[in-house]
Symmetry: C2
Subunit: 195 residues, 2 copies
DNA sequence: CCACTATGAGTCATCTTGTCTCATAATGGT
DNA sequence: ACCATTATGAGACAAGATGACTCATAGTGG
């Protein structure tokens, strides 16, 4: 039985995923087709069909590679915050904001929002994105609740809505880049609102 | 010179726009093509090309018809609020939330978010959407500032970020319908945060 | 009643899509 | 070093989509 170790398979797969991600970033999900990916990856068209028989499979691969998990909070930074929830919240949301500042984020998010109503795979991606954000905020929200800085009924999901929501709005509806000042403003507003 | 009054022109145009909007709602922007619109509208393929020679023109027409201007605040309701900013804010945002609850809203917004990076027309649509929201909140925000319920540096744009942002997040990222309770929660949080 | 014009049907060349075959060469086990 | 395995690129192919065109017809405005 074949393992997943054939270098040819990995090489071409890597090239195709890279090409698909580029196309997604540059021209949106519509531009991700077997033909376009093959051409850009320098690969036979049939090869793309072999790896992802369906168009949705191919596009899902592009989207997945476009939204890797958020890097975890570095331990040295966590201790450096002195356990201050606000500092940690600002840091976690800055990581998110930085990612959303990236060019490809808009393409990925728009595709997920639009596609999740029709496609199960995209719905999964949307939910995992939501979970990613909530998980990133979970420890700091818990700490803030423990210290009485947030009401005890504030969940990570609620706090995500209160912070990631405005950031999303500012970035993708207003079209503005997200600086650390914006993140701090949003975090402070949420802390005031839910104290 | 021909006026825009030829009934044939208006009839077929109306049928095509309706068909395009349906396709957009049901299957996303990608499904809006000259051929599909012609088939659904019961119209010749050439006719669709005559009205919108380019694919982007056609899709823009579908998007525009999918985001008509928000209805203005009814005068009787405005007086009924007794000039209370919170009540008016809740009302205005409930109108927005109701629209976003609609099935087609997700398709329209996702298309605009994704397309506004590449297409000038979609960028215009995105900006007009933003303006729509800010304008809807403008009088109530001004009133709240005048009464000292909001800091004097809070603009309609800021308040839109603080309220429409979370609503957008809740509706399209978390996938939850927006009830009046959600709107009230969000408005109250924003009023606390920016008092 | 008539000149006008939007329309539907159709044709046509070109491109895209999905499936298939086959020779080739890289690969892993022996 | 050898060989059976297998992923690949090139290409053929039918079916369908695309965009531009022509033309007879019928609804329209004067």
């Amino acid at each position: 039985m074949r393992e997943r170790t054939d270098p040819r398979l990995l090489r071409s797969r890597e090239a195709m995923v890279a090409a698909a991600t580029e196309l997604l970033t540059e021209s949106g999900l519509e531009a991700v087709t077997h033909q376009a990916v093959a051409a850009r990856a320098g690969v036979g068209r049939a090869t793309v069909y072999r790896h992802w028989p369906g168009l949705l499979d191919l596009r899902l691969a592009a989207l997945e590679s476009g939204m890797p998990p958020l890097p975890p909070m570095p331990e040295e930074l966590r201790t450096a915050t002195g356990g201050d929830p606000r500092t940690e919240l600002v840091h976690r949301l800055s990581v998110l904001a930085e990612r959303w500042d990236d060019e490809q984020a808009g393409a990925v998010l728009a595709a997920i929002l639009g596609g999740s109503r029709h496609d199960e795979g995209m719905r999964r991606l949307r939910e995992s994105l939501l979970e990613q954000i909530a998980d990133a905020l979970r420890p700091a929200v818990a700490a803030a609740v423990a210290r009485g800085q947030l009401r005890s009924d504030v969940t990570p999901e609620t706090f995500a809505m209160a912070t990631a929501g405005p950031l999303f709005f500012e970035r993708f509806l207003a079209g503005n880049r997200l600086g650390r000042d914006t993140v701090e403003t949003v975090v402070d507003a949420a802390l005031r609102a839910w104290a």
